[in-house]
Symmetry: C2
Subunit: 318 residues, 2 copies
């Protein structure tokens, strides 16, 4: 499919993509580039690439596809380094969780002879680093592509085929719309999870042991996503500021209404709000997005979740 | 262990307890009581009880243990109904998620010749109703007991043995301390999850489809706990008002600090906060509370989660 693919940044996503490309023979050669010597050593021992560079410019020479798998905040410096060495007609894409700011950066730094298509595979685990990756990560998961207005259709199709071969379903979007949708589905949930885990951590030492002990009662669900890579998430919030702040504003209003209902003892409001949220869970289960489709490194569920039994009649005693 | 145990309210917890008592032969007879005729029919067809009543007073006659498995808000009316029919020396316990208000109610309504010990098994799934129960629900899970100051030790020990036989580990606590610990580990997480799912549901129809489609990116983790029983949770918030409002206040302060850091572009604050939350996740995994120990009705993970690989070096590109 490609002669030579360079993957820059070999964390969870980069190393998973390399594994999938290798398994499905999507390129004649895979080149890995990472500025960390330690990461390069690991990639070498894992046998994931045909050639490994710490010098980013050298790594993109003669590649027909370059995939930037670095945190959003590192995109600009990486783009500056590789720009002079890119071949005419090559495609540059990325896997960043924010698209508007990344597209602007790439458009500014990457020469016009090179095609730019933004990308974002909606896949991941709470683990990071090259050992955390696995070839099945993208199977059954969405990958959002954000081409520029003037991007040729054949370029988008080529990238579509690559991700489809890795098992993904493709969705094409405007960068701005991507950032709004992911703001509510991903960025806000992570921010809230980080905050609540922080609030618990701040409670006095004595209580902390009990928080850990009794975490099965709800809290632990938040700690999983709050253990995601801190650099990646810092960059997400710095680069999707407007959308996140707007959605956070809506959330805060809703939380204030909840707080008021508790203070006033408004059981009807609480019951109605809690009841409505069940429907959206059902829709997610029906859409097949409720569980990991394939085992992850952390050995999570492989069996698709069953539809829960019909909601019990609220009027009766349980 | 007991001659006759009456379980009032046959939802997820009540029916799971009946199954565990039956399997481990912890009582000569199991009596089920539920004011819903529909639930009683189901219990009959599932063969979970030796006798089934819709009349609560009749169900407690001659029982040496009565377990109240109804929502917290129903405790008072149930206590009033059974009070005249309870035998001298019987034990009344419950499984409610709030303890201070329940203990006060029971103390007021249950005659002095009957022993009262509050109970709260920290176990559950997002499903409800008698079919949702299973005997393994309590294995490896904590059960908190809140005896009254004058409760005889042998009564607490008898109840301890029952829950231990069901697979639980026992912790004794003051009702007030229970409500604070569960406020942060359980009540606040559920409130936040309900709120964020509500915020997403309120977004325009067009976006809602995309929220469901791309929910794997964080949002779906919240929808699972936000699909828990709405009556149970309404009652929790109405009955643990003070602790929940106090903890919510701390959370709101922390969220405001996060919002400010995003607005100001304070990457250092975000990075430090996100980094610290990883430690608490690690502690939860080490305490063996990160996953369900046994399969649930929804076929969730049975394999204990492995410790994630060491956090990647934040300074390097991934």
């Amino acid at each position: 499919m490609f002669k030579q693919i360079t993957i820059i940044g070999f964390g969870l996503i980069g190393s998973s993509l390399a594994r999938a490309i290798k398994r499905h023979k999507l390129a004649d050669r895979i080149v890995c580039a990472d500025q960390s010597r330690e990461v390069c050593e690991k990639v070498k021992s894992l046998g994931l690439a045909d050639e490994i560079f710490t010098d980013l410019a050298k790594s993109v020479k003669d590649s027909d596809l370059v995939v930037l798998c670095v945190p959003v905040g590192a995109m600009q410096s990486v783009a500056e380094k590789i720009a002079p060495a890119l071949s005419a007609g090559a495609i540059v894409t990325d896997v960043g969780s924010v698209k508007t700011s990344v597209m602007k950066t790439l458009q500014l730094k990457i020469p016009a002879k090179v095609h730019i298509v933004g990308g974002h595979p909606i896949a991941g685990t709470e683990h990071s680093g090259p050992e955390a990756g696995f070839a099945e990560l993208f199977i059954g998961r969405w990958c959002i592509l954000t081409p520029m207005q003037h991007t040729e259709l054949r370029v988008v199709e080529k990238l579509t085929k690559l991700w489809e071969a890795c098992g993904s379903n493709i969705e094409i979007m405007d960068p701005e719309h991507h950032d709004l949708v992911l703001g509510i589905t991903s960025h806000l949930p992570h921010l809230i999870a980080y905050t609540i885990v922080g609030t618990a951590t701040d409670m006095e030492e004595d209580l902390k042991g009990e928080v850990i002990k009794f975490s099965a009662s709800g809290f632990r669900d938040f700690t999983r996503i709050a253990s995601s890579d801190p650099v990646m998430w810092r960059d997400v919030f710095l680069n999707n500021k407007e959308a996140v702040l707007e959605i956070l504003q809506r959330f805060t209003e809703d939380l204030t209404a909840m707080q008021k209902a508790i203070r006033k003892g408004d059981g009807d409001y609480l019951y109605q709000t809690f009841k409505e949220t069940r429907d959206i869970r059902k829709a997610i289960i029906e859409a097949g997005q409720a569980t990991y489709a394939y085992p992850t490194k952390s050995q999570e569920a492989v069996v698709p979740e069953v539809v829960p039994p019909a909601a019990s009649d609220p009027a009766r005693q349980r």
